[in-house]
Amino acid sequence: MPDSHAAEHVHIDVRDVNVSFGAFAALDQVSVRIRRGRVHALVGENGAGKSTLGKVISGHLPATRGQVTLHRENPAEVLGSAGHLRARVAVVDQELALLPARSVAENVLLGSLPSRFGVALRAAMRSRVATLLEATGFDLDPDAPVGALRVADRQLVTILRAFATQAEVIVMDEPTAALTGRESERLLGVIDRMRADGRTFVYVSHFLGEVLEIADDITVLKDGQVTWQGDASATNQDALVAAMLGRSLVTMFPDRQPPPPGDPVLVVENLTSGPEVQDVSLAVRPGEILGIAGIVGSGRSELAHTLLGARRATRGTMRLNGQLYRPNGPTHAWNRGVRIVPESRRDQGLFLRHTVHRNVTLPHLSAVSRAGCLMPGAGRTMAADLLDRMDYRGSGVDIPVGSLSGGNQQKVLLARCLLSDPNVLIIDEPTRGVDVGARHSIYTLIDEAAQRGVAVIVISSELEEVLGLADRVLAMRGGRIVREFAKHASEAAVLSAILGAEPTATRKPSN
């Protein structure tokens, strides 16, 4: 009976799981068997669905369809509810849910503080944390307030917290993104030892070197579907990259004419802003689409915010149309014709409860007013006219923008920037959370804006998108532009550039 034999080793069984947000399918018929006492890695590009799958496994996100079951060591016992999963699966993610004012020890033991009659036992707490620190070899002061720690150390605290629980399974979402090379190696060592003790790990990561080093099993996701699954020893880095990129379901990028030659409209030299943006130089011409590729944390959005003046540049110069450009804030940038469609529509872009036309016209109100007073209806008509030409599918412009689909919301943000043509348009993640149909019209709109002479900078974590849309692509890693690619560069080459050939080694010098 080979089937029951296999079942004995399966710890979490994910079967035919679908997760959709509206029309957008984040996971599509995904089945994964996570074996007890193994490290199972989930890899894929940004937006491939690996973090979503991690949340499903830990019971924090319900599957729209399909089933997740947790098998106890006694094979007869099977638990399936989200509550059961949450109680037995610990999560380490990048969101760093910590109490900044409390000590490392308290944060690590949060939820399982040793106490007697409701009074926290400081000595017991400290000794438990000391044991954990010794076991892991992490270099942390248990009494230091978490707020004073570096980002990397905070990440270590969240990892320790997961280790401190009695969880059978630990889901780690990009645990090493903020860590130095040495800390990453230590972490991998700890995982190795805990695996030997019988704990199961689900390891979500961009860094293929790490994945191949630590994982027993690997699942590769692309566009919410499993493209490869198997034993880690049966694959290598190139094969994984190929599976991550896969064959795209839809090629829908506009056929772009090469941009006309001419002087660049924006020239940036040696721009530095904090540790996130380091010595960046770039130039973009009118009519050109410049792509910037990089993973989360590579400094792409910080670069965009520096160009807009929302972050202060500590060094470097910028010129706009030949004149010195030193934005002291986004207001200045807007006045000079530098605009942004920000990364997060909800947090940085839209006024969700305000109407569509108000969202579009907000920065252009001087054009529809006299002596500061709004001309009735003028803004509304302008917004409606523009959106009509933008393949907007919402029911009118008087509804709250929060009730629209992701694609229409993105069109509203584009309309805001394109109501009059800017000099430079920065688009951070043009199609995140946008369904396939709307993607095509957004790409077309970006292309048309470029044809009218707008210099466009497209930032995206989806390589296919950057390469399909842009005339040139800059690869960004660790706050620096590491390489420039021409239009028809291969995705694999860009991917290696933004990940770094050997991630653990290359990230060492930054700390």
Binding site: G349, L362, C373, L374, R416, R432
Partner: protein, 332 residues
């Protein structure tokens, strides 16, 4: 991050959205219905209520609160709070009487009151914007300082205004209404236009609706907030002037707790504490409902202590309803 964002940007399921919209609509009608019901109830239960004289009295009594509350609506829509209006109300009355006495000019006294309010508003703007102090705490602090200054200036005594005509605004009438009521009408109209019909007003909604989005859309967030605090301070100054004119004197101890009455009226009207949503007409109704409750209980000879209890209960209920409506809206 990435996949989570995907989830958040998708719209709520239609069923729930419809529910929350209904609730929001219900509130639109709710406040109007509440006003009408109270009005009818008082008309039928009291012989005195429905009379021009009584309405004139109500308006005159509540003119200062109305003036401050419509400006306070601006502050709430911008996502802030101004707790210092009671103190500004006091110091402005004192400034009016002092200046009128010192210069012998009623006009200069009036100007001094409004300028005192404006200056206090600037201080509040500096505290919250340059000092980056939360506006609740910032204006709480400035309120203590301002009232302390007022006490220092008066030495705790009432400053009687000597010049003839100082009490014109608060005592004299035109077409059956006191001048203070006419000033209130003009001010309410001006603030309503400012919030609902100007570019500046749109920016106030944007700043309160999503400050980061407003900033990235090139809205000068700091200046918008600064102007809002200045308008609020000027309103409190104007209200303080009217109150001082009525009693022909300035006094440091007046207007204690006024800020809570103002806040109560605004929230009762349905302007959200979360910012980004609200309307001047709502606040006008909120003030009038509080006024009618006070007036009605007076006419029915109810102990004034109960008025406080009733007002407090109503405000808490209004905020609870607001919170429920919010919850419905934010659920996905």
């Amino acid at each position: 991050m990435t996949e989570a964002n995907v989830g958040q940007t998708t719209p709520a399921p239609p069923a729930r959205r419809a529910f929350s919209l209904d609730l929001a609509h219900g509130r639109d009608l709710g406040i109007v219905a509440c006003f009408v019901a109270l009005f009818l109830a008082l008309t039928f239960s009291s012989d005195v209520f429905f009379s021009a004289q009584n309405f004139a009295t109500i308006l005159e009594q509540w003119a200062p609160v109305m003036i401050i509350a419509v400006a306070g609506t601006l502050v709430l829509v911008a996502g802030d709070l101004d707790i210092s209006v009671g103190a500004i109300f006091a110091i402005s009355g004192v400034a009016a009487a002092k200046f009128a006495n010192d210069t012998g000019s009623v006009i200069l006294g009036c100007v001094a009151a409004v300028i005192a309010g404006l200056a206090c508003g600037l201080v509040n703007a500096a505290i919250t914007l340059i000092g980056r102090v939360n506006s609740l705490i910032g204006t709480l602090g400035s309120s203590l300082v301002i009232r302390g200054l007022a006490l220092l200036i008066t030495g705790g005594f009432i400053v009687q205004a000597a010049p003839v005509g100082f009490d014109t605004l608060g005592v004299d009438s035109w077409l059956g209404l006191r001048w203070s009521v006419w000033v209130m009408f003009v001010w309410v109209g001006a603030v309503a236009v400012l919030l609902h019909l100007t570019v500046f007003g749109r920016r106030v909604f944007a700043v309160g609706g999503n400050i980061e989005a407003a900033r990235l859309a090139g809205i000068p967030v700091g200046s918008v907030k600064a102007v809002v605090f200045v308008v609020s301070g000027m309103s409190a100054g104007l209200a303080g002037l009217l109150a001082a004119s009525k009693v022909n004197a300035g006094q440091a101890e007046v207007g204690v707790g006024l800020e809570f009455q103002v806040l109560a009226a605004i929230v009762l009207g349905g302007t959200s504490l979360a910012g980004g949503a609200g309307a001047v007409w709502r606040t006008v109704l909120g003030v009038m409902i509080l006024a009618m409750i006070g007036n009605g209980l007076n006419l029915l000879a109810v102990d004034p202590v109960y008025q406080q209890i009733v007002q407090g209960t109503i405000v808490v209920t209004a905020v609870a309803v607001d919170a429920w409506a919010q919850r419905g809206r934010n659920k996905t």
